[in-house]
Symmetry: C2
Subunit: 254 residues, 2 copies
DNA sequence: CCAAAAGTGTTGCCTTTACACCCATGT
DNA sequence: ACATGGGTGTAAAGGCAACACTTTTGG
């Protein structure tokens, strides 16, 4: 696979289509969880000074899933991330030439000015392990509270909406706890995570019972101190039991 | 939108990329239900003599959903079809130049020989209303039992697999009965439909109760005669109640 | 009249929901 | 000490699976 060196920005703008497929891009909605808030990782374009999703293009001989993974690794420093393709956005208005403000001084006729169909992925990462890194075209990369996203570039707000929707629908089948929380966590924290994603309150007592009945957690002889009031137990995922249960079609019940 | 006239086949092969986006295609898995079997509509290539999914390309200014709809209408004669985008297939092996047998006498360098990412849609249609019609490149278009699909072109078998999977997952939320069955139908027929899609037996009595409890059907003063034994009642969807229930998040319970 | 399929009802179980009680901790 | 959040238990409600019985039809 011919790869484009990072520093050759003008080469990318002028002749990127020799390396990448035209008309196809990949955008990633990277979810994290911190201070009881669901977060999304965004980038700020150098020239537009507007925020956008981390995204990129697909090398001519690269699987689209791999493109998404490549982008994720570049932005977060992590590999082996939980990743799901959720939707292809194919509105013909998805092109810069139909916008007033255009990045990179793009000229009419550039391959980047043409219409793109973007494949949307969402990813679940452990907030504390991420080292947000801007790419060559952006000067900032940071977390945003999912409820306070600014007006983004193109249709990226819509992409986040759809990603959230997909995340909610898949909450039953996917290990959001295992991927979004740190290694050790408390039941109230896990509950907060579900409540945030579902955007509704759950009964504390029933939640615990339900989770523990799944028999995929391991309670440690350790409590989380520091907060006021009674210190809650810390839990780990019992990865062995958890993997087994997933194979048998575990459902979390949401 | 510049449209390509049908008869200009050579023009399409040589310069189709002037009308359509490169690297992007749309494939439709059209489901029908007949004689208690789930069916899929397939086409046979004129030259390859191999079967494939109905598919096509996306005009440069056309929404991908509309491309899918266009293809559906051309093949089935129906519009207003229930349609769902379910997955984007982005394996780099999806290209003819990596195959032994190539259709249309395509030469190296042709835009059609390049790699395509295809957006998969599935559609639910009423079997009896469909008039299967081959396109310009195929000489046959007919229904195949979903359990007896032959070896198809490229990764089209895999696309059908994924479509079925998606259909099963969405069985809870989507009106498979309303779209796959004729206007009037019996409960045993509806049950057969669910059993076929889910590939498992359901209890006749519990099924009826559950369905009727949804309060979206209207029982007619009419029975389905002709079969041996007791004649079952005919039902219609009460579209008003049904639409209302769907908006409120009706779940069928599968 | 009989076999097979269709319509209706009942029961018991198990999951979910609601809520009561006690315990621990920092202020 | 006390307000607040955390851990555990129980009882009622509702949904679902299992099964019995009657009715209808073509042969």
């Amino acid at each position: 696979m011919k790869k484009l060196k990072k520093y050759k920005e003008q080469e990318f703008i002028d002749r990127g289509y020799q390396y990448f497929m035209r008309h196809i891009s990949v955008d990633c909605v990277i979810f994290g969880f911190h201070e009881n808030q669901l977060k999304v990782l965004l980038l700020k374009w150098k020239d537009l000074q507007q925020w956008c999703l981390p995204g990129g293009f697909v090398y001519k001989d690269e699987h689209i899933d791999l493109s998404a993974r490549r982008i994720l690794t570049e932005r977060t420093g992590l590999d082996n991330i939980f990743l799901k393709q959720f939707y292809a956005f194919g509105d013909p208005n998805r092109e810069w030439s139909k916008r007033k403000n255009v990045p990179l001084n793009l000229k009419k006729g550039s391959w980047l000015m043409e219409r793109f169909v973007t494949i949307g992925y969402w990813a679940l990462v452990e907030f504390s392990k991420v080292k947000p890194a801007p790419d060559e075209l952006s000067d900032e990369c940071r977390w945003w509270d999912v409820n306070r996203i600014p007006k983004l570039v193109l249709d990226h707000n819509n992409i986040i909406e759809k990603a959230l929707e997909s995340l909610r629908i898949n909450l039953n089948d996917y290990p959001v706890g295992n991927t979004l929380l740190p290694d050790k966590f408390t039941m109230p924290e896990l509950q907060q995570l579900y409540e945030t994603i579902l955007d509704k309150k759950l009964d504390r007592r029933n939640f615990q019972k339900k989770m523990i009945a799944l028999d995929i957690f391991q309670r440690l002889n350790e409590r989380k101190h520091g907060g006021a009031h009674k210190a809650p137990y810390l839990y780990k995922f019992n990865q062995k039991k958890y993997q087994k249960a997933m194979k048998q079609g575990l459902r979390f019940g949401f």
